[in-house]
Symmetry: C2
Subunit: 413 residues, 2 copies
């Protein structure tokens, strides 16, 4: 279901210059593009450090990561070390127009690209800068996560070592924090004419999150950290069970309704009544479900162990129990190939790779999803953008190519 509902492209006409790499900035830029903005990703000639990031396509060696995170953008390649290249970039960043003058970057130590420098050329510039730590120290998702305490509370209770996450959650969250801040600043600029220099540190996104969940305040009160407790959900009931055919399901009872459904469907009501009486507990209260999670889990386990997943799936679904199956990403793909869902996924023909499984935006207008997009070749739009935004003529573009100041791609010629 593809639609041209303009509500799906609310940022149509907006131009954003993105000079960032890896996940945070690029995922934010990709999101703005999905909302209709013209996002121009700037790379040094040859590409930034993320250009060959894994996973790579087995077919052509192109990065499946880069093409996925930069889809729907225009790509320009400019020599960022040359004075002429830098002047082009500054001119692009500060080009006039109410829908321009917006920069997202994660560069370190490039004073010519600082807000101080750029805002001299365009006073109402909006620049969103992403750092590692707020004090400028370097950090990446995989170093921030252990630092803020999450890795130490993740994994099996009997695990000797902390478990770092594989999902770059802080990067993704920082990217959407950047888009939120950028659009808020744009709202203000439209009213007051004033620009903004917004800075976001990846580590701050993580510190704020663990504080916003109450975890720091809790550790402060308790004088100790919450221990690892495997797949149990903290403060309520939720854990994984294995079925007779070795499938694994995550079952969660956050509310009384969930709990009642789980008791009923597993026919464990009498046992839990007796346990509640004996223990002086009330399993309708989630605190007690958490306190007695081990005995609740042990009571429920035989029901799951006695049934194949197909039966567990059918019965839990009918009963309104909150659960899901643990799948691998390959099982997600297999299900997509077999059933064609979920609807957010689809195959696109990615130039430089071929057909790849991709996703469109999770932001729907009513029931309607937006369109799929593919990634540009590196430098595919260098000439187009410089001509369009800065008015450079073909002769001038030719000279800049010859001088090695700018580069295109095979597709741009």
């Amino acid at each position: 279901m593809v639609t041209d509902d303009p509500a799906l492209r609310p940022l149509a006409g907006l131009r954003v210059l993105e000079f960032a790499s890896f996940v945070a900035g690029p995922s934010g830029g990709m999101t703005l593009g999905q909302l209709g903005a013209d996002v121009i990703r700037l790379d040094p000639i040859g590409g930034a450090a993320d250009y060959g990031r894994w996973p790579l396509s087995q077919r052509t060696g192109r990065s499946l990561y880069w093409t996925a995170l930069n889809k729907g953008k225009r790509s320009i390649s400019i020599d960022v070390r040359s004075a002429e290249g830098r002047e082009l970039i500054v001119a692009l960043a500060t080009a006039p127009g109410p829908d321009a003058g917006i920069v997202v970057d994660n560069n370190v130590g490039r004073s010519w690209l600082s807000y101080e420098a750029l805002s001299k050329r365009r006073a109402d510039l909006i620049q969103v800068h992403i750092d590692g730590y707020a004090d400028g120290r370097a950090a990446v998702d995989y170093t921030v996560n252990p630092d803020v305490g999450v890795a130490n509370m993740t994994g099996p209770a009997d695990s000797a070592a902390p478990v770092n996450h594989v999902l770059p959650a802080w990067d993704l969250l920082a990217g959407m924090t950047a888009t939120t801040g950028l659009l808020a600043a744009l709202h203000r600029r439209a009213r007051t004419g004033e620009g903004a220099f917004l800075r976001i540190a990846l580590a701050d996104v993580a510190y704020a999150s663990v504080a916003n969940l109450g975890w720091l305040a809790e550790a402060d009160e308790l004088g100790t950290a919450r221990p690892r407790h495997g797949n149990h959900v903290y403060g309520s009931f939720g854990v994984d069970f294995e079925t007779s055919d070795q499938a694994r399901v995550m079952v969660v009872a956050l509310t009384v309704r969930h709990w009642d459904a789980l008791r009923t469907v597993t026919d464990t009501g009498k046992v839990f009544d007796a346990l509640e009486e004996t223990l002086g507990a009330d399993f309708r209260a989630e605190a007690d479900r958490y306190r007695y999670r081990e005995i609740i889990t042990a009571t429920l386990r035989p029901w799951f162990a006695a049934r194949p997943f197909a039966e567990v799936d059918r019965v839990l679904s009918e009963a309104g129990v909150l659960y899901s199956r643990f799948r691998t990403v390959h099982e997600v793909v297999t299900a997509y190939r077999a059933e064609g869902g979920p609807e957010i996924l689809g195959e696109v023909d990615q130039p430089g790779i071929g057909p790849v499984l991709s996703a469109r935006s999770p932001l729907r207008a009513g029931a309607e999803y937006g369109e799929y997009a593919t990634a540009p070749d590196l430098g595919e739009h260098t000439d187009e953008v410089l001509a369009q935004v800065l008015g450079l003529a073909d002769t001038e573009l030719g000279r800049l190519h010859d001088a090695g100041v700018i580069a295109g791609s095979a597709r741009s010629h």
Copy 2:
């Protein structure tokens, strides 16, 4: 450093009605509040299902989670089952003004609060609705994560069971996706006068993310899923090491500069040169650092095992190696108490609890952070909001209280 820079409150004047619970909607609303918006959280009388969510304060029993996720908002309590209560809510949602008519919700099955119903009262309404699955099936963060394949690729290689995350990453990301969509729709409404009904499914946020990292396309090409591989960083070099005093550090070498620094500081250059020659490998290429991660890790491990953390910390820091220490959330708190950092954290006097460790927004204006905030009591602003937005007189408010249609808090009287 608290500042009154108006760039920190770009959404000042905007009014948002939030009728959501748990993490996604409330964290999004909190973010809008930190950016200056007047966010009114609506609860049923007695509070929504998240009102008593763990962690709870040992001092007073109040939820550290709820107060952290709802700070900076105004709270109103209305009987959502009564016709009169519903009419008040609809009137609040659709009250006039260019800076109003914005609703965030995650309700299921309340047709009186549907976009269809509300937009009849205010045609340019912006409503952002958060679902579990796009087809309306229920899901929570802890069920979505196993479903999209992340739990199965997380944890030690020898772990029999998948590791579900403890961080509600999808909720947090959905919350910021909601704020991004909301502000994009507001941008469009300011230009065209048109409202929007945006829907976001928690599961879609997760499906899109694993696609956007290239993970689905990779599994599709390989015909299999990436296996668990502990704390190794996929496609590059990064892993944890234990020091002589049992501290643990995460060390990452994403770039050649990182790798050179790590070789040099650990005095392993000759060994790696010999290994590269013998293996026909080039560890300056991150693909080879990943392929030979076990032997690289084994080569580096003795250096870490021979030194206490204080020395490792000093030496790696001076050499520009990218690393961090695994800490517990309690160690984050202890460091804050000892050193007063990071600057994003601070203690606030939370009514109903007392002093609690809290965070302000990670969005800074230049170097400046915004202000700290505390959470309201449930219903603290019921009368104030109904008087201010709907013009209800004291006698009418009294009647609604007596009829049990609205409720206040001790502090609101």
